[in-house]
Amino acid sequence: MARVAPYLRIAALALLLAFLLQPQRFAPLFAPLTQYGAPAIYDQGNLLELTLAHLGTVLLAAAASTIVAVALGIGVTRQSGAEFLPLSRTLVNVGQTFPPVAVLALAVPLVGFGEKPTLIALFAYGLLPIFENTIVGLKSCPSALLEAASGMGLSNWQRLRSVELPLAMPMILEGVRLSLVINVGTATIGSTVAAKGLGEVIIAGLLSNNTAFILQGGLVTGLMAILLYDAMAVLERRHFGALRVD
Amino acid sequence: MISIENLSKQYGTARVVDDVSMTIDPHTITVIVGTSGSGKSTLLRMINRLVEPTSGRVLIDGADTAGEPAHLLRRRIGYAIQSHGLFPHRTVAENIATVPELLRWERARIRGRVEELLTVFQLDPATYADKFPHQLSGGQQQRVGVARALAAEPNVLLMDEPFGALDPIIRGKAQEDLLDIHRRYGTTVILVTHDMDEAFRLGDRIAVMSAGKVLQYDRPAVLLTQPADPFVARMTGSADRALKLLSLTNVSEAAKPGTAPGPPIPESASLRDALSELMWRGTESAGIIDASGQPAGCVTIEAILAHGRAH
């Protein structure tokens, strides 16, 4: 399976790009799923644009939540931040029980419709896995290593940068990966609050009873999620493979 | 009596156990010794059919073990392993009661047997019966493992490196306890180990295995004095083989009529212990007394040395 994987990866990417760039060519595939001569390919907007908008929202939220979550995670695992740690852990546990749709719904009255509530919901929801994994990753650094580093004369900041963070990186990246994949799916709900994205395609399909639309939106989102998941896995392995403790 | 007839086990092209035949007398302790990869564990596990033989058969008291469902056979044979495999979610008492419950004994009988075994293994029932395995020390866990294997009063007890995980101080005690149990219950014990000293300490007969074959199967003294194979000689014969031989012999075998000054040596002591005692005292001879305290001759260093000489 491992040897087939790179080819599958490239094939999936090629298929996705082909569909987004030349959707009409796939019309015959989707035509049997429509009724009463409805359009087989989503025509109320440019599929490529929607995909990019979707991806953009997800990546922007992911970047923001990574920075904040890692910073908070570092802060909370320092000596000076120790009193914030127990509550942080509880909040992480509690926060993961919040359904994403509730977070989204509560953000709308605060900031209105469109991209903003979606970004806020994705940001808030994406924080948790990254935050949790940053804490676990930093905490699992063997104390013998930390002592050795300090003993060599590294300052706390240098120790963080050259020892703790690199060792915690696999776990942090794992959290980012998880957060990305969940957010790709959650962002589809953003279309219910008028955010631009692939959710639009699905909802249009739901409203007009057009299974072809629903499938297109769903498949593109699913492929995007799988490719992102995979890309992150490759990144992790290539840069940090030696550090993984499986 | 256990009869192993032309037992073999083959995995692909590798013959892990190669045409082994041996007879094990009832109420004895047989130790199977070998380095890792010699097939000793596989041989043991073919007796209770945890591994099914490729060819050959095992007869227990004349009946072929392949003649009944494997799980029923195993309920009649005790099985103790190195990592003891105690069930973490059950108490000590529940662990020991496992096979009796499978055999549907009455509650009272199970309870009595659990208490009896805990007492015999020096674990006070009132304190230990309701404890969980993770609350016990390594030595205690090992004892519970053996107790569990003996719970249903099996005639045969199979042990796979049972003392391997214990530190040396406790290991000696555990070996003594096994000898005690054996004397008390008369169970036929087949024990696998890689430790030659342990084999000499415990075994009535020892089987030396290498690369799937049994090179020699005999009493310990014979292995020492007449090794059938250079490998056997290497395994048994080390710098202190004479002393090993002396430790196998009782002091009464070198006794001569007569008396000697100084405190007497008990009849149950080995020649090795007697030699050590005489050297310590700096004397040439000492008297022997039997179990009731009556004089039973005397022993000299010369007589002892004669016994230790290569035959």
């Binding site: 994949v181 799916g185 589809t188 709900i189 699905i202 629903i214 769903g218 799988i226 | 105690l86």
Partner: protein
């Protein structure tokens, strides 16, 4: 711990106290609207409630804030924060009745941002105190039931009736109980059916390693399909089924509504349970299984008495993950007419009525959180192997 010796005051407590005080002084306590449609006026604490109530609130918050900053005893912090929460909640209820002219059912009084921030800060103080107390499973359940019970009692008693949320509830009362029941039935029903299938599937994957990759891979693939897409994909075949077989339609299987929702939820529930079953079984001590075999247990007996009991904590964790996930997914299923609390959420979004959104979102979050706490407590209480 050497940290708390040097710093005489608690920095987390200080931060939360600061937020609480900012909320109290500078931010609106309530927002009053003459009716549902017009924009509202923000009112601070003193303008919203009678003076005595205001003094009570200020006192309670100040006490809680001081204790949070200075004292370290978790019990005291919990008590003062909880008391403050109760007093603040009662105050906002009082604001509701104070600002509503007698007999007027049109006026809408909603808690303002100041109230929410105050509630959050005090709530975090209480949560922090609870965390430091390290309660055991039983105590956690008791705390949860006490909190939810008291809140429900207050709502039932009519304490908060003058607030806009409860006005919306009053309008939708029967529908609300129907939707919450529907929500629970969908979440638990799909979980139940999934467990019945996923548990044996997990055992099978554990026994036959070759299946593991294929099964888990397929289930993983299903998980990446966004919820509304899966709901949508199931709608067409189910609609076709309903038209082709009138019996199916009579049973309630239609293209929209419960049927596609339950099937989709069932599919989403499979992965965590199967994955955790495999993981839990893998972690069972091989020595224990070997010993059980050697003692003469049949494979079925070993599964029943040794492997499954020892794997249970991990399996139950998977079930907990699914239950929380499903409660959230059912909220989305409202989009395809499956009912549940999501109807209020999406109606609220459509009408820009935050009160409807709250009516749907708050119970959903409470359900999810309670499920997590209850199951976690169960898992911890059941684990006999914990040292």
């Amino acid at each position: 711990m050497n940290v708390s010796r040097r710093t005489k005051f608690d920095r987390l407590g200080a931060l939360l106290a600061l937020f609480a005080l900012i909320a109290l002084v500078f931010m609106p306590f309530v927002v009053a609207k003459a009716n549902r449609i017009v924009p509202g006026t923000s009112l601070g604490l003193l303008a919203a409630v009678p003076l005595s109530t205001a003094i009570g609130v200020i006192a309670a918050v100040l006490v809680a804030a001081c204790i949070a900053v200075i004292l370290a005893s978790p019990g005291l912090r919990l008590a003062s924060a909880t008391l403050a929460v109760v007093i603040v909640s009662l105050a906002v209820a009082a604001a509701g009745s104070a600002l509503t002219p007698l007999g007027n059912k049109v006026v809408r009084i909603a808690p303002g941002s100041g109230f929410w921030l105050l509630l959050c800060s005090l709530g975090l103080m209480a949560t922090d105190a609870i965390t430091r107390l390290r309660p055991g499973p039983l105590l956690r359940v008791v705390l949860l039931l006490a909190f939810v019970g008291i809140a429900l009692a207050a709502f039932a008693h009519g304490t908060f009736d003058h607030l806009s949320v409860m006005r919306e509830y009053a309008v939708n009362a029967t529908r609300f109980s129907h939707e919450i029941a529907q929500h629970l039935w969908l979440a638990l029903g799909s979980l139940g059916t999934a467990v019945v299938v996923a548990l044996p599937l997990g055992v099978l994957c554990h026994r036959v390693p070759r299946l593991r990759g294929a099964v888990l891979g397929t289930l993983n693939l299903i998980q990446t399909i966004p919820a509304i897409a899966l709901f949508g994909i199931l709608m067409a075949p189910l609609a076709a089924l309903a038209t082709a077989y009138p019996l199916a339609a009579a049973l309630g299987i239609r293209g929209i509504g419960t049927a596609p929702a339950i099937i989709a939820l069932f599919l989403y529930s499979l992965l965590p349970v199967v994955a955790n079953t495999v993981l839990g079984l893998r972690r069972v001590s091989p020595a224990a299984v070997e010993a059980a075999r050697g003692m003469g247990m049949t494979p079925a007996q070993i599964l029943k008495s040794i492997e499954l009991p020892l794997a249970l904590p991990v399996i139950l964790t998977g079930i907990r993950i699914v239950l929380v996930q499903n409660i959230g997914l059912v909220a989305i299923a409202a989009l395809i007419g499956a009912g549940g609390l999501g109807t209020f959420i999406f109606q609220g979004i459509g009408q820009t009525a935050i009160d409807l959104v709250l009516l749907g979102a708050v119970p959903t979050v409470t359900l999810a959180f309670s499920a997590a706490v209850l199951l976690d407590a169960l898992i911890e209480a059941m684990d006999r192997t914990r040292p």
